[in-house]
């Protein structure tokens, strides 16, 4: 409630300009998000994304509203799903659960990893879409020994999650330049300037970007598996309504032409 009922005197209004400027500076520290390529309509990308998801994400994160059998609609057979994408004793009608308990997660990472079923919807913000955030986030990890996990992230500073894809991307360190803030020289500003590759990854940077794009596309699709059907159906509905509107317009004109 305190943010809502912040009591401000009219006298403070003069200071408002300065205050807003300070606000803007802290906003700038949030790195701009890269635009995630749209691949929700690309079955190969979704299948690759599903494979990456069950291998790299599902160890810690659940997708407890997503049923394995729903993967049929991205062109996979029950056999393919059962043999390539399911581990343990899960059945095809089950949802994507995780073996790690909340207590273990709390102990190992300090927090419970969020469920990923609708994560792309939840992460949308003024910064961009949820997909844009994930696409940027999964590509901006760097080694940081000051963090408990040894990892930090440019899009989400201080995150508790280590880089799950480090073997693909390789390990990198981030270089920062420290200099005075141009708008307030008394403040030292830490600006990101570039990465140093510490160990090579199994993929080139271009390949890695595409891998992340596929994974993000899968999560975007998983947030609403019926979204493509929805859009296809929408086209048909609107074509029908366009025709219906024409008909009702003619009907109305026919009746009203007698009204003088």
């Amino acid at each position: 409630m305190k943010t809502i009922f912040r009591r401000l005197g009219l006298g403070l209004l003069l200071g408002a300009v300065l205050h807003t400027a300070a606000y803007a500076a802290s906003e700038e520290k949030e790195i701009p998000l890269d635009h995630a390529p749209y691949r929700v309509n690309n079955l190969l990308a979704l299948q690759n994304g599903a494979r990456l998801f069950v291998n790299y994400c599902l160890g810690c994160h659940s997708a407890k509203y997503m049923r394995y059998e729903s993967l049929r609609s991205i062109g996979l057979t029950d056999d393919q799903i059962a043999h390539n994408l399911m581990f343990g004793e899960a059945k095809i009608g089950d949802t994507m659960r995780v073996a790690m308990t909340a207590a273990q997660a709390e102990k190992w990472f300090g927090t419970e990893p969020p469920d990923l079923s609708i994560i792309t919807k939840a992460l949308a913000s003024h910064r961009g879409s949820g997909a844009d955030f994930l696409y940027t986030y999964l590509r901006t990890f760097y080694r940081d020994d000051s963090r408990p996990t040894g990892w930090n992230n440019l899009a989400f500073p201080g995150v508790n999650m280590p880089n799950p894809l480090w073997m693909l991307q390789g390990q990198r360190a981030a270089r920062f330049a420290v200099g005075p803030d141009p708008s307030d020289p008394s403040v030292q500003l830490k600006t990101f300037v570039g990465y140093t590759q510490l160990t090579p990854g199994t993929q080139s940077p271009t390949e890695y970007d595409s891998t992340v794009a596929d994974l993000v596309a899968y999560m975007q699709w998983m947030a609403e598996p019926d979204q493509l059907l929805r859009k296809r159906l929408g086209v048909i509905v609107l074509i029908f309504l366009g025709f219906f509107t024409f008909l009702t317009w003619k009907l109305k004109s026919e009746y009203w032409k007698d009204v003088t």
Binding site: L8, L123, A124, T248
Partner: protein, 467 residues
């Protein structure tokens, strides 16, 4: 009035067969003619008059989609969030039903706001339509309650914290406040108990009230007949058969007319449902896709867009704003004293009343006055029929600068809405405060400004150009 009933009774021919059988037992034919084929509406109803029938359609959409949602939704704090995802994924066409219902909520407010603005500019609330207007205001209140209760049900972060903030407002009421808030929630925080009672209100209590009020709204309307963009009574000019010369039968003329309007509306509605159901986070907020967590307050809590103008007024009322209200109160009291300078008894009442209110403003927490301002911003609509003293009903025959006032009022409302979504900042506070003062000035000063200016002559007959 009498001749209309007579007319209906006389004009209805005796029917044979099934219709005759029914008519002997139920007044089907006379109801049909009284409310449709022989209910005469002004023939010049324009664009603004689509939104009445559209509101009924949206109400029907909400009730029908709501019934199907209730079949699969679980009003349980542990299951609610999951059951919504179950509807989205596992229930056949569940995603469509849910998006129709969530888009319908926003659509309801859009058509109602436009419908109310129509009433404002054409003076539809004025004699003899005061009761239609009051029923309408009650419908608006119910709609707000319905939307508020319904928003808790998905049990996301915004559902939970929005309900928490709004119920906490009641705790600002002196003496009974804290107990009242607990009584509303049924618990010390928003919990499973709250979810269950909000579900009952959302699904049974408020919809019943809404349907009853909508029925009363229409019965009152058919008693006096529709107003029109010229603000003239068509019943004052009838032909030999007692039919208004400027009226057309509601059915078929306005049924085909409104069918066209409905069709255009459905195109826009379906475009949202199928292509942008979240509407960029305005119809379904991003944070609400995170399950409710009582231990984690979101950094920025904003209600859904349709409440934000009133939320802005709430936020604009700080202890500093209360000082402005005090100054306004002193000025108003002094004015009342001067007006009643010859009547000492009345003047004393004003002086004592003013002093008591001043004392209340000075001692009670600003949060309470925020709640009063927000509530007042809604309730003030009830008094419009008596605040408006313009000699003509319609904006068409009022001075041009009156038009500017109505346009400014609408813009002011939208600016309030915009700043209600933004996180609090000194700039947002200054703007919201200015807009709040303008909002209330529009209503409280209406008895004065609505009489000023040069009014244009009102014609005898409707202005109508054949299509």
């Amino acid at each position: 009035m009498a001749d209309q009933t007579l007319h209906g009774a006389h004009a209805t021919p005796e029917h044979g067969g099934l219709r005759g059988w029914i008519d002997k037992r139920f007044p089907f034919s006379s109801l049909w003619s009284a409310h449709l084929t022989e209910y005469y509406a002004p023939k010049n109803l324009n664009f603004w008059y689509y939104f009445g029938s559209l509101s009924i359609v949206v109400l029907a959409i909400q009730i029908i989609s709501g019934i199907f949602l209730v079949m699969n939704y679980k009003p349980d704090a542990a299951l609610a969030f999951g059951s919504v995802e179950y509807i989205m994924r596992d229930v056949n066409w569940g995603w469509l039903i849910r998006y129709i219902h969530s888009t319908g909520a926003s659509a309801f407010f859009i058509v109602i706001y436009l419908h109310m603005f129509r009433g404002l500019i054409y003076g539809s609330y004025r004699t003899p339509r005061e009761l239609i207007w009051i029923f309408g205001c009650l419908i608006f209140l119910c709609l707000m309650a319905e939307a508020f209760f319904g928003y808790l049900l998905p049990w996301g972060q915004m559902s939970f914290w929005g309900a928490q903030v709004i119920v906490n407002l009641f705790s600002a009421i002196p003496l009974i406040g804290p107990d009242l808030a607990v009584w509303i929630r049924g618990d010390y925080v928003v919990s499973d108990v709250t979810l269950n009672r909000f579900f009952a209100f959302h699904v049974i209590a408020i919809p019943l009230l809404l349907i009853g009020l909508v029925g009363s709204h229409i019965i009152a309307l058919h008693q006096v007949g529709s107003n029109n963009p010229d603000g003239i009574e068509i019943k004052d000019n009838k032909d030999g058969r007692g039919i208004p010369r400027d009226g057309v039968a509601f059915h078929p003329y306005y049924t085909v007319h409104d069918l066209f309007g409905l069709s255009v509306f459905l195109m826009i509605f379906c475009a949202v449902v199928f292509f942008a159901p979240q509407f960029g986070g305005y119809f379904l907020e991003h944070n609400n896709f995170i399950p409710a967590n009582p231990l984690k307050t979101p950094p920025h809590i904003a209600p859904v867009w349709y409440f934000t103008p009133f939320y802005s007024i709430l936020r604009a009322t700080t202890s500093n704003t209360v000082h402005i209200w005090m100054a306004v109160l002193v000025a108003a009291t002094l004015y009342a004293l001067w007006r009643n300078r010859g009547k000492p008894a009345r003047a004393a009442v004003f002086a004592i009343g003013g002093a008591l209110l001043f004392w209340a403003l000075a001692t009670i927490d600003a949060k309470f006055w925020g709640v009063v301002s927000m509530g007042g911003a809604v309730l003030i609509f009830f008094f419009l029929p008596w605040l408006d003293r313009s000699p003509v009903k319609s904006i068409r025959y009022r001075p041009s600068w009156h038009r500017a006032i109505y346009v400014l009022f609408a813009l002011n409302f939208m600016v309030l809405g915009y700043f209600g979504i933004q996180p609090p900042s000194p700039l947002a506070y200054a703007v919201a405060l200015t807009c709040t003062l303008l909002y209330f000035s529009f209503f409280f000063l209406m008895p004065w400004w609505s009489r000023l200016g040069t009014f244009k002559p009102v014609p005898q007959r409707l202005v109508y150009k054949a299509h």
